[in-house]
């Protein structure tokens, strides 16, 4: 399995001395192609910090974060921007869709920023929208979409142009169970097609779509879960 994400003793602290807060203690973790990883843990345990490091939104205070073979901590701002446009897609908790742009225009942004032609960006945006089941809603503005549809636009934007690494910070927070499930099916399909996704969630039913669930606590990885081999369904009738 090709490693797409690696944390090697990566740590992040804020401030110094007596007021220093350690958001993430030195942590090592690898995530391979095809793998869906879920990160769980109480609020304040360092989940968003970990994801921001992988997404190149933040740099480690110590250790290394390697994404698709590149040491994120040593990249220049321009190189980081390229990594974010071509390799890593991020779905934020509050989605960050631009209200003045249509769904298609929102999805096309990363490609336009990357200097692709309008036509090329538009075609890729349509393909991404189709992959999340929204082919017919490209002309709608975010406010005219349901919560689940907005969620899928945000995922399409994170994946557009064939980005392989999808990072999602509590993306299913406010969704009802069937809508949340359809989002999880998308993430699963992305990974089954050779991509990688890291999902931060407090929702166990969503985390259960992952191949591996890691648990953070007070900035440390404390445990890891893998699917049970033989699921007992409702046993014998009482």
């Amino acid at each position: 399995m090709t490693t797409l994400v690696e944390l090697d003793g990566a740590a992040r602290w804020f401030g110094a001395g007596h007021t220093q807060v350690t958001a993430l203690h030195p942590t090592s973790l690898t995530v391979g192609a095809g793998e869906l990883l879920a990160v769980m843990g109480p609020s304040g345990s360092g989940k968003t910090t970990l994801l921001s490091l992988v997404g190149g939104l933040d740099k480690p205070s110590a250790g290394r974060v390697v994404v698709d073979g590149q040491d994120v901590g040593s990249l220049k701002p321009r190189e980081l921007a390229i990594l974010r446009r071509r390799t890593v897609g991020y779905v934020f908790q509050d989605l960050n869709l631009l209200a003045g742009l249509t769904a298609r225009e929102n999805v096309a942004i990363p490609l336009e920023l990357d200097g692709r032609s309008i036509g090329e960006a538009r075609a890729a945006a349509n393909a991404a929208l189709e992959s999340v089941g929204l082919a017919s809603l490209g002309d709608r503005f975010p406010d005219d979409l349901s919560g689940g549809e907005q969620q899928r636009v945000a995922i399409a934007r994170a994946l557009v142009g064939g980005r392989r690494i999808l990072l999602a910070d509590e993306p299913t927070g406010a969704l009802d169970s069937m809508t949340g499930e359809s989002v999880m099916r998308l993430l699963r399909a992305h990974c089954d097609n050779g991509g990688t996704a890291i999902l931060v969630t407090h929702d166990a039913a969503h985390a259960a779509w992952a191949d591996r669930v890691v648990f953070l606590r007070d900035g440390r990885l404390v445990d890891e879960a893998h699917p049970a081999p033989n699921p007992e369904l409702a046993t014998t009738a009482p």
Partner: protein
């Protein structure tokens, strides 16, 4: 209880005999709720005794061939069952609840570690259910998916409860670690 009404519901559709009832029951419940044939016969005998089903003809002594049909009284009881909500019989008496309560009271058990071991086991179970859900056909396997949803949401509720226990214990611990008067931390807790 469920087997009793399950058999009544099947007999409400058409008269049937024991073995057919067993296979039909298993199919209806998503192919995953195994009952043995002895259980079917015992249940039918009770239903017959209570006047809710009756045997057709008289192939005396031959359990396997005997066909049964629902009586009007059986039909009425089945309708009442569908019309009434199910009320949990004995809340909070499961082994896990008791284990956590006793661990909290014991004082020398690492409750946080206990909760995490349980959380991991529950998530692993949930992952296994979810794999089966991902493979199921949403149109053909409706019964199976409904059953899986029941198992998934129950397990999820258990995990939420574990998280709630954890948060309660953490807030107690942090209240104990931060006494109102600062600067008396020489002794190790």
């Amino acid at each position: 209880m469920s087997v009793r009404y399950g058999l009544l519901a099947l007999l409400d559709e058409a008269p049937s005999h024991g073995y057919n009832l067993k296979t039909a029951f298993e199919r209806r419940t998503g192919g995953s709720w195994a009952i043995n044939i002895g259980q079917v016969y015992t249940t039918i005998q009770r239903l017959e005794r209570d006047g809710l089903v009756e045997s057709l003809g008289s192939s005396a002594g031959d359990d396997e061939r005997r066909e049964y049909r629902i009586t009007p009284a059986g039909r009425a009881q089945l309708a009442t069952w569908f019309e009434n909500p199910v009320v949990a019989e004995a809340p909070a008496r499961d082994e896990l609840t008791i284990k956590v309560l006793l661990a909290v009271a014991a004082g020398d058990v690492d409750v946080t570690a206990l909760l995490q071991r349980q959380r991991r086991a529950s998530i692993e179970q949930l992952q296994a259910y979810t794999r089966r859900k991902a493979k199921a056909d949403p149109k053909r396997d409706v019964a199976f998916l409904i059953l899986l949803d029941a198992l998934i949401f129950r397990t999820e509720a258990e995990i939420r409860w574990l998280d709630a226990c954890d948060a309660r214990i953490r807030s107690l611990a942090s209240a104990a670690a931060a006494p109102p008067t600062a600067g008396s931390k020489e002794t190790d807790g």
